[in-house]
Subunit: 686 residues, 2 copies
């Protein structure tokens, strides 16, 4: 059991290391040589240019203005200054809403902590249960629920507080959901024209013996959305090609590295050992070796590209279908197309940068089976995890230990007596955890040690031109996938311990406040936006906090029943019921804003656009939006996309099926840029 002074020491260590990180950051940040590591976002925006370009030589690398060292924490107010609308404009809605999760933590826990410390802590403190229990305890534990005697009427306070905390949390959650939903709708409404507004992703296109995927998609949508269908883009399985392109990039880096080395020291050609890890074996000329390898890869890439475009099997059973209006796309995305609900699945297309190309062709059955496997694995993981826990628990059971190890008896008769007393005392462990992970850990985040080192290594070995330097600067993206679960752990800890041991709350609050400032700074100055989902993840954030709330209620119920306050159970069991209902209410009220697309909005934008730009070439705008990035990005050797003849659709749709052989002409409407080789082949047949 940690005493107050133990925690004091831990706090001192962690606060000191946090300050050390901040100090190091403050010093490193204002050195011009690190400018691209700590302000890459501004470079990407084109609003900052390299400080290396002008000034005295030393000043290019080291900051000699000593006054700037004195103000080493001034980035904090600076980070808070940018108003939210500007932040959305600067870094996207995803990032701005992500920051709101930290704010949400403050909004939930500051009033809860205030209530807990003014009402619940005095109620806990003014008892002598722990003194008389024979347990080892510290003053911290006296603040917790452990200090209330079993069956005491004082548990009514905790009951009322549990209701108050639940209602407050739900109220804040509801308000936040409302705000985020309206922010999302406002953002979507004010958005510029984007390809994804007009496009629907069609999955599970059924196989057809007579028509290619491209023809099939075109015919289906011409028949079933005759007034709205515009064009489509088939999806290629370019996974292998994209591997090759990545491989080539890596080889190019090595080539640059050895070329630089050679240029600096032209007297000696750099050599390379062919054995394990380049440690032994035959030596070859490194520049020649990598040049040859690079050329071989270029050849492989163009062969693979050829293969993809000519082989119909590399066309997946999915397509991006674009419509003439946002209304048409909204309709198609929300409706069922075919009587079999597992084929012709339509959903709103993600924006082009957000497409996960590798997974586009998984059929419905495999998806279901994958879900089953994950569910079963999850279940057994949880279930069998219970077995070791149960063994440990049964060992930890006092009587069992006494039986197994009788010589421990004198010690045991003193170690904890009741679960109700010992659980809240685990709080000290979590307090230490929060200080390490949530305080020092967050402070370390701002230092960006790994990108700093990698940037300088690249700068030294690879960079030749200003363009190379730009590529060496890797701002990274904000880690939603790791950051969000971390926040959720803190929500869970805060909600569980709010009633049980409120002393934990100030530590959680410091975490939320510190993280908010740090991540706001990082989002403004560092991270690059990878894609924009317009805060589509918020329903998940909401759901997880609700789950944390329910877990906290169930734990409190169990705890109070061990404290012989079982009569509170009916009142406590109402809380999860109310919470689940609240979740269902919110789901019905706000979730549609995150998954569906109201027709009214679509129609409004369409009408406005028609009035403003009556002669818009939408087909041209959408032409190459959903091409696999590997076809686009390859520098220099971009695949030449055959410009589409620009014409009106014929009024008659060729729905009558005939064998492919007798209808060799390829579709006129198709914008799929790679169908032509295949079609040409067909055409050239006698």
């Amino acid at each position: 059991m940690a005493t107050l002074s133990d925690i004091g020491v831990a706090a001192a260590i962690n606060i000191l290391s946090a300050f050390a990180f901040f100090l190091a950051f403050a010093i490193l940040r204002i050195q011009p040589v690190n400018d691209r590591v700590y302000f890459p976002k501004w470079y990407l925006k084109g609003l900052r240019c390299s400080p290396l370009a002008n000034g005295a030589f030393v000043c290019k690398f080291v900051n000699l203005d000593f006054r700037s060292y004195a103000r080493f924490l001034n980035w904090m107010p600076a980070a808070l200054q940018m108003p939210e609308p500007e932040l959305i404009d600067h870094a996207g809605l995803d990032s701005a809403v992500y920051l709101r999760i930290y704010l949400l933590g403050l909004k939930i826990f500051v009033p809860i902590a205030f209530l807990a410390f003014t009402i619940m802590v005095p109620v806990n403190w003014t008892n002598n249960t722990l003194e008389h229990s024979g347990l080892t305890f510290s003053d911290i534990d006296k603040l917790s629920i452990s200090n209330i005697p079993n069956g005491s009427l004082r548990f009514w306070t905790h009951l009322v507080m549990a209701y108050a905390f639940t209602f407050w949390t739900c109220y804040v959650l509801k308000r936040e959901y409302e705000i985020v939903a309206s922010m999302r709708l406002h953002f979507l409404a004010s958005e510029q024209r984007h390809p994804d507004q007009f496009t629907v992703l069609v999955k599970n296109v059924p196989p057809d013996p007579d028509e290619s995927v491209s023809e099939l998609v075109e015919h289906f949508f011409l028949v079933n959305h005759p007034e709205h269908y515009l064009s489509h883009q088939v999806v290629y399985n370019a996974n292998k090609l994209s591997e090759l392109v990545n491989e080539k990039k890596k080889i190019q880096n090595w080539l640059d590295y050895y070329q630089n080395k050679y240029e600096r020291n032209p007297s000696k050609r750099p050599l390379l050992k062919m054995g394990f890890l380049g440690l032994w074996g035959e030596s070859v000329d490194a520049v020649d070796f990598y040049t040859a390898k690079n050329e071989r890869l270029s050849r492989d890439i163009s062969l693979e590209r050829e293969k993809i475009t000519s082989n119909p099997k590399s066309i997946m059973a999915a397509a991006f279908v674009s419509f003439k209006t946002r209304w048409g796309a909204a309709v198609c995305a929300q409706t069922q197309q075919c009587r079999n609900p597992t084929i012709w699945l339509t959903e709103w297309a993600p924006e082009p940068r957000d497409v996960y190309w590798e997974n586009l062709s998984i059929p419905f059955v495999f998806l279901t089976i994958r879900r089953l496997i994950v569910a079963v694995a999850f279940f057994f993981l949880t279930f069998f995890f219970v077995i070791p826990i149960a063994i440990v628990q049964s060992l930890a059971n006092i009587e069992s230990i006494e039986k197994a190890l009788p010589f421990l008896k004198p010690i045991i008769e003193v170690i904890p007596k009741t679960i109700g007393a010992s659980i809240p005392m685990k709080a000290t462990f979590f307090i230490t955890y929060i200080m390490v992970d949530g305080w020092a850990g967050v402070a370390a985040e701002i230092l960006r040690l790994k990108p700093l080192i990698i940037y300088h290594l690249k700068n030294f070995f690879l960079v030749k031109t200003e363009k190379d330097r730009e590529e060496a600067m890797d701002p990274g993206t904000i880690g939603f996938n790791t950051g969000e679960p971390q926040i959720q752990l803190y929500f869970l800890l805060g909600l569980v311990y709010a009633i049980v041991s409120p002393i934990l709350l100030p530590f959680v609050i410091v975490f939320f406040a510190l993280s908010y400032v740090v991540f706001r700074h990082q989002i403004i100055n560092v991270y690059n936006q990878e894609y924009e989902s317009a805060a589509a993840y918020w329903p998940d954030v909401h759901l997880r906090i609700i789950v944390a709330l329910i877990v906290s209620q169930l734990l409190l119920m169990g705890l109070l029943s061990t404290k012989e306050a079982a009569s509170s159970t009916p009142l406590l069991i109402t809380l999860p019921v109310l919470t689940i209902w609240f979740h269902r209410f919110c789901k019905g009220r706000y979730e549609p804003a995150f998954v569906r697309n109201p027709l009214q909005e679509a129609m409004m934008k369409d009408t406005l656009e028609r009035a403003r730009e009556p002669n818009l070439n939408l087909k041209g705008f959408l032409q190459n939006a959903y091409i696999h990035p590997v076809f686009k990005s390859a520098d220099g050797d971009k695949i030449d996309v055959a410009m589409e003849e620009w014409e009106e659709e014929p009024s008659l749709i060729a729905t009558k099926r005939t064998s492919k052989r007798s209808t060799p002409l390829s579709s006129k409407h198709s914008v799929s840029s790679f169908s032509s080789p295949e079609a040409n082949k067909e055409r050239s047949k006698p």
Copy 2:
């Protein structure tokens, strides 16, 4: 504990009473005087006319052909003869699919019973646990799981059987879901033109200070579905009017009764006492009294009707919106209209007969609150129901009884020892229950005792004309709402006891077989079809059987753990997980067929219809489809629906909002038949 002979006696009694019912039915059915009670469906179809009309006088009432009495069970094969497609044509898809639930019971339980009796019963029987337990038991209990000693390896048989039964049930369920889904789609595809195919029910129309509901609906859909909107019908709150109309019908019956009485005995005017229940008090002339009352009601009805049509407050915030094509309606029903997901809610309109008019105007918030209240009530009902059960259980606990009532000790030391032995022995109670409710009860259903008596009473006192006799014949409708839960109880019993005590299964199978024959007969000959949902209820049937399956699995798990076969738990707990996954799979695969409307189907029917009937007057067809039945049914004084001027929509939509006062002209597109008085009033203002 019931012995084998007890059950034998109960079976004899129930089989005898079932036969008595069948015999009574066979005799009553062939009497011409009862023809309208036992064959009303054929009268409604116009395929049978009254046997009272011709033949000798006695033959009109009593069947003297004695040969027909000998074949008193021949209705059974007759009921089975009609093939399913003809049955669907005759009584609708709802009824045909309802019968399939009974068939489903047979499909599930016949193979399960076969397996249980060939494998599990021998395993149970060849033990001596009950002989040595000191429990009172009968030979029936020797067939059950109680007869297996605790911790025996023989429980592996039950484990394997649990898997086999679950897989078989799921397999049958999946096949049935598939068949019903395809039946539904086929039925919908082959359906004639119905108003509901073109119509969408719009709920939660937001209030608007400037426009009436009718104008608002029209403008909204003209703007957001410009190419598809055809017309709409506002919904009136006619609950009070419909009460008055019902009241009038009742008074009319009494008037007819007294008039008939007077006509039969013109010497004496029938009198009526005004006091309690007509037992004492001042006497008045009954015919005059009811004539006056009838006239007063007619006046009230026309006043109320006037009030509804003139008061804008009686227009609810809901409307039936019709589209030019099925495609347009399918699109509107499946999409979200407005950014606020709680207003402008659209759903596929039920067919006109299936509309529950009273509930059409409940707003979203009230709906959510109602759901909360029901959920909380349900929860507390279940929760507090546990308390008396717990008290009874704790009393039933042997030690407690011994303590509370020490004189019972000698008896108690003998009464049951283990729960694992006593639970399966409850089977005898359910066997008796099945025989009473499921055998004799179902047999009583066919006799139609209540409709028989009421028909003859009405026939004697009220009927004057052939039309009156037709009205007196009340075929009733098949009680989905009571019948389906009854079936579900049998599914639950069958699945729970399949492993525990398979002796119950034959009784359940007899129930399903008997019910199938009886209800098939009733559906063919008696029940009238109230509305047609095209088997939309099947997902619920499926879900409930799944729940029964999961309950049975959990109970088996609990039972086996009391039988010290806890090592089976991990294997058993996999079953509910797999079952839940199976349910999710079925939901994804088949449920859309029951809630959504594939665009392809809609487009196909639209295209066919356009080709076949290019000059169809759809607006005329839909004009009065969704008028409250009280405005339609009132005999004679039908409200005259102003025929709509038949014109094309103007290309410009009046979306600019101005105050109502300055735009007094009512909408031209509205087909709402009752807006005219209101509009006229507005017009007459200066």
